[in-house]
């Protein structure tokens, strides 16, 4: 029986193309997202500078919440240095090296510019770490004493030359007055992938802050070299020794996770991205696929009814429809999935280009996304095909034949009610932004828009029917025949028209709510940052890994400088109770000195006092304070960026959480828990005079690696904490905004394609009607005029409905985030969206109409 289903399907090719396109696009998008998600979970950067170590022992750079996905920790967690000696004695170990990393930037020979490094926060190491390099070619002799250094071959120095090196001195090194850079003698040149700057081991220990202070007596990781073939047995033995500790024993590609925790942590961004995309993708794909399928099955209604008449049970009809749809889906999904893998590759390339993602991070390509896509697409297709065939299948066989020639007379009540209910629920949920001034709260506005659009699609037939009826009643008796035909057709074919109007309306809703949500939040964030940033300048040092400690006092001594405060952002996992269960949520956190950098930032403290930001204390944003039971005097449980569990007292609640993030950590609390001790940036407030500005510029110019820029976005919350790539300066659009915009463009193209397909399908199915009209004397010109009027009505109704549906969430969003009842965003958005959708509906109706008119009417009727 099933091959008959295929043969029946093959007969209705246009409708099939729509389904195939919907599935192909959907499969591509799902697979792409799946690849991103899987890479976010499983991708490792290559082992690079640890390539020569057979076994690596490092701390776990992930926090594992109970029953949830692990959260990547961006700050280096340390390993006790005493372990190095113990592991050296394990059988089969030929060398055990305790590796430490710290900022050490080489100043180029000519213009004094700092040479770029892969991981500026940890490019300096002790000489012993060269043993971990994969097959290094070393020229020269190991550095000895405090004045010698080995440099990577890529830097272009030769043995015996002098080189200036900027080392981000730890304050604990008790040498605050050190010059910002020192001159060293190049004792060796090291040529190996991932090679850094190598100091004598003692110097390295001191520069990395291991000689004293919170990280004394630790190393970043321990690399082991083993006798040939002994790697596995050594790994097993080491695992046994370390059982019970939280240390990880890594071999093979896993070693990559230990190279740079900040870089590895950035991959979790992929997971977040995929997660935030998945919801909207599934909704749009489900909507588009279901729409295409219902159009295809509507075209086969007569065949299905005939099958009922000759003895097919309702279940058989539904099964047949579902099988047919699944067969097409599988066929279309295959190229879609291939496309999806390519898409993911392209997308991650773009992310890497925009420095959102570390370039070294490869994508994980496995069959899992294929599997997930197939399962999801098949589920969508099966459910929508069965739903679409439901009505025809349930009709008594006698009626099935009688009805199949025309449309179902009344749109189902249950369907209409469900649709209206969805619209009501969506509108109700759109008030969220009034209460939650967070990205999550804002997202509910766009979700509300989409849900309402789906509600619109469900209640569409009833709405279109009543709208068409009203229009027909109001129409002047003298209206032209094409107008009358168009309006009558609208009312009579409410189901078919709403099948076209609702995706168009959804397109409008989608573009408006999704884009304007992004731009509104962006505007509100900028407003927060602008209002809360008193400083005029940001000084950062992306190539140095952090602003060297000596910079701050120098800044404060400059004439005209009123205040200069270090600001660093990191990530902390916030644990709080929701309905009695512990939730762990990663949050970007700003590390501020005591007083909360009041001279350069105004966080809008509503309660408590930032002056008490000392010791184990935090300040929290008012957007989350109440929900997480974090009022002043209360305590919060945090897991810091290196995995350390701490409990901190809340000393203040501030209002500008949108601009500055949900959490502020005291410097004391974060000390020793960041990879780099030095501040990521220093915010500077001057008296505003040109002299002060010039003095600042001069200071930044004479100290290598410092970058001076206008303050503003620099301290912003969205800055990807801990990637070490410098969340520096500039008014750049945050990555999530343009990622979202890119997603909108892709999804809109997908929606438009499906809408055009659907319009074409619907028009092709009307050949008989067009032929009948012509036989009774309608001229081709009149038919075209009728179709154009239909297109105009379709576009007008779609835009009207789309505007109405998106208005409520957007008004509430504007009120909640900007304090005015309209959102922020480009004014051209609405006219352009309306124009594109109108053009789509005109073209998609005009072309098949012209084609239908080319067939002689009598022939068209016979073929039908």
């Amino acid at each position: 029986m099933l091959h008959l289903a295929l043969r029946m399907a093959a007969h209705k090719l246009t409708a099939l193309i729509a389904v195939a396109c919907a599935v192909l696009g959907g499969a591509a998008l799902l697979t792409g997202t799946g690849v991103l998600a899987e890479s976010g979970l499983r991708s490792h950067v290559p082992p690079g500078r640890l390539g020569g170590a057979d076994v690596v022992v490092a701390a776990d750079q992930e926090f594992h919440p109970a029953g949830d996905l692990p959260i990547a920790l961006p700050e280096r967690a340390t390993v006790p240095a005493g372990l190095v000696g113990r592991l050296a004695e394990v059988d089969g170990v030929t060398a055990a090296v305790g590796d430490v990393g710290f900022p050490a930037a080489l100043v180029g020979p000519g213009d004094g510019r700092v040479l770029p490094a892969e991981d500026p926060g940890a490019s300096g190491h002790g000489w012993s770490s060269t043993a971990l390099l994969p097959k290094p070619r070393i020229e020269g002799h190991p550095p000895s004493g405090a004045g010698e250094v080995a440099v990577p071959a890529s830097a272009g120095f030769r043995v015996g030359e002098r080189v200036r090196v900027v080392t981000g001195d730890r304050p604990s090194a008790a040498s605050g007055a050190r010059k910002p850079s020192s001159s060293y003698l190049v004792s060796a040149v090291v040529d190996a992938p991932g090679a850094g700057v190598y100091f004598a081991d003692g110097t390295a220990r001191r520069l990395s802050g291991r000689a004293g202070g919170p990280r004394a007596g630790t190393v970043d990781l321990i690399g082991l070299r083993t006798a040939p073939g002994a790697a596995d047995s050594v790994a097993a033995a080491v695992r046994e020794q370390l059982a019970g500790t939280k240390l990880k024993v890594l071999t093979g590609p896993d070693r990559g996770t230990a190279v740079a925790p900040g870089v590895s942590a950035a991959r979790s961004m992929l997971l977040l991205l995929a997660g935030s995309l998945a919801g909207i993708l599934l909704m749009v794909i489900g909507f588009v696929t279901a729409g295409a399928l219902s159009a295809s099955i509507a075209g086969q209604r007569r065949d299905l009814a005939l099958m009922r008449a000759v003895g097919a049970t309702p279940r058989q009809i539904r099964r047949l429809a579902a099988f047919q749809a699944s067969a097409i889906a599988v066929a279309a999904a295959v190229p879609g999935i291939v496309l999806g893998y390519l898409l993911a590759g392209r997308f991650s390339q773009v992310l890497a280009d925009r420095a959102v993602l570390p370039r070294e991070l490869p994508l994980t390509v496995s069959p899992l996304p294929t599997l997930a896509t197939l399962v999801l697409m098949l589920a969508v297709v099966q459910v929508s095909a069965r739903c679409a065939a439901w009505r025809t299948s349930r009709l008594p066989a006698t009626e099935a034949v009688a009805e199949s020639r025309s449309e179902p007379r009344t749109p189902s009540r249950a369907r209409t009610l469900t649709g209206l209910l969805l619209i009501a629920v969506a509108t109700a949920s759109a008030v969220t932004p009034l209460f939650a001034r967070t990205m999550l709260g804002a997202t509910s506005a766009s979700i509300a828009g989409i849900v309402a659009a789906i509600g619109l699609a469900l209640s569409g037939p009833a709405l279109v029917k009543s709208a068409g009826g009203a229009a027909l009643r109001r129409m002047r008796p003298g209206a032209s025949a094409p107008s009358r035909l168009a309006v009558a057709g609208l009312r009579a074919h409410a189901l078919r028209f709403s099948g076209v109007i609702s995706p168009l309306a959804m397109g409008i809703v989608f573009v408006l709510t999704y884009t304007l949500t992004q731009t509104t939040v962006l505007a509100a964030t900028r407003q927060d940052v602008r209002a809360g940033t008193l400083a005029q300048y940001t000084l950062s040092a992306p190539r140095l890994g952090g602003v060297p400690a000596g910079t701050l006092p120098a800044l404060r001594r400059l004439p005209g400088v009123k205040a200069a405060e270090p600001v660093t952002s990191t990530t902390a996992v916030w644990q709080y109770q929701v309905f009695g269960e512990t939730t762990s949520e990663p949050a970007s956190a700003m590390i501020l000195p005591p007083g909360g950098a009041a001279g350069v930032l105004d966080l809008g403290v509503r309660d408590g006092d930032l002056a008490r930001l000392k010791g184990a204390t935090v300040a929290v944003s008012s957007a989350v304070a109440a929900a997480r039971d974090a009022e002043p005097g209360g305590r919060v449980r945090l897991i810091l960026g290196d995995g350390a569990r701490v409990t901190a007292r809340v000393v203040a609640v501030y209002d500008r959480g949108l601009g500055f993030g949900p959490l502020v950590l005291s410097r004391d609390l974060a000390a020793g828990h960041t990879t780099v001790a030095a501040a990521q940036s220093v915010l500077v407030r001057t008296d505003g005079s040109a002299t002060a500005g010039d003095a600042l510029a001069a200071l930044a110019g004479e100290r290598s690696g410092l970058v001076l820029s206008g303050a503003g976005a620099g301290a912003g919350a969205g800055a990807d904490a801990g990637t070490g790539s410098g969340s520096g300066a500039g008014q750049q659009t945050p990555p999530e905004v343009w990622i979202n915009l890119a997603v909108i463009v892709v999804l809109l193209a997908y929606l438009l394609l499906s809408i055009a397909n659907k319009l074409v399908t619907a028009t092709v199915q009307r050949r008989t009607e067009i032929a009948a009209l012509r036989l009774v004397g309608t001229t081709p010109g009149q038919v075209r005029a009728m179709m154009r009027r239909e297109a105009a009505m379709v576009a007008a109704m779609a835009c009207g409905a789309g505007l109405v549906v998106s208005a409520v969430p957007l008004v509430l969003l504007g009120q909640g985030f900007l304090g005015r009842p309209w959102p922020a965003g480009p004014v051209w958005l609405l006219p352009v969206a309306v124009a594109v959708l109108t053009a789509t509906s005109f073209v998609a109706l005009e072309l098949p109409t012209r084609r239908a008119l080319r067939t002689p009417p009598a022939e068209a009727l016979r073929a039908a």
């Binding site: 000759v310 003895g311 097919a312 016979r862």
Partner: protein
Amino acid sequence: MSALGRGFGRGGAVRAVEAVRPAVRVEGAPAGPAVALSQVSKVYGGGVRALDDVSLTVWPGAFVAVMGPSGSGKSTLMHCAAGLDTPTSGSVRIDGHEIAGLDETRRTELRRDRVGFVFQAYNLIPSLTIADNITLPLRLASRKPDREWVSALVERVGIAGCLDRRPAELSGGQQQRAAVVRALAARPAVVFADEPTGALDLHSARQVLQLLRGLVDEFGQTVVMVTHDPAAAAWAHHAVVMADGRVVEGLDAPTAASLADRLIALGGR
């Protein structure tokens, strides 16, 4: 006068109609009636009484024509008798199986095992070949087509050359003959034909009626045909005439002329 005509009076005073046991008995044919309606009424929404307490028994091997003017209830009678629709009250047994109280799925299954249909509009599925159309009901029932039987039918009906074509490529007469083969392919207890000649020209109509009569005479197939055309009804062994939802006449070996008189009389009442 046979049992069929006995007791017929104006206004249907006697409502039980027995279509006679035919002269030709087929070996192995079931002993009970092919279709038995007993006191069947059908009331549609709005109170329209389409069938009013109708009883009718069709014995295996009979060719019965149901006649009547438009709106007399003959189509409703057929829908109820064939299990396409359920009666409001009364009992309908097809090949000994009660259909009252069965849901749509169970009735469908009963229909495709025991009932064949020939429709006025042929109702062949346009996207399938004639061969696929013929075996479709069997496939739907997951039964293997009896190849010999089907090819014998195809030969008998004279559409052997059209099996690989699609319905649109055939003439109306050919399509209807294919529909007859489809109706018979599952060896049903009874075939219902709803105005089978309604869409055909005189010559093709004659061929189809000849075919139906031949199938009854040669294979002992039971056929119930609904028609408003006395000339078509004259091919049947028996005719029942309906008016206002009741059976008002029963005739053996009807002729076109006698049937036309009855109908005209009914129309003039």
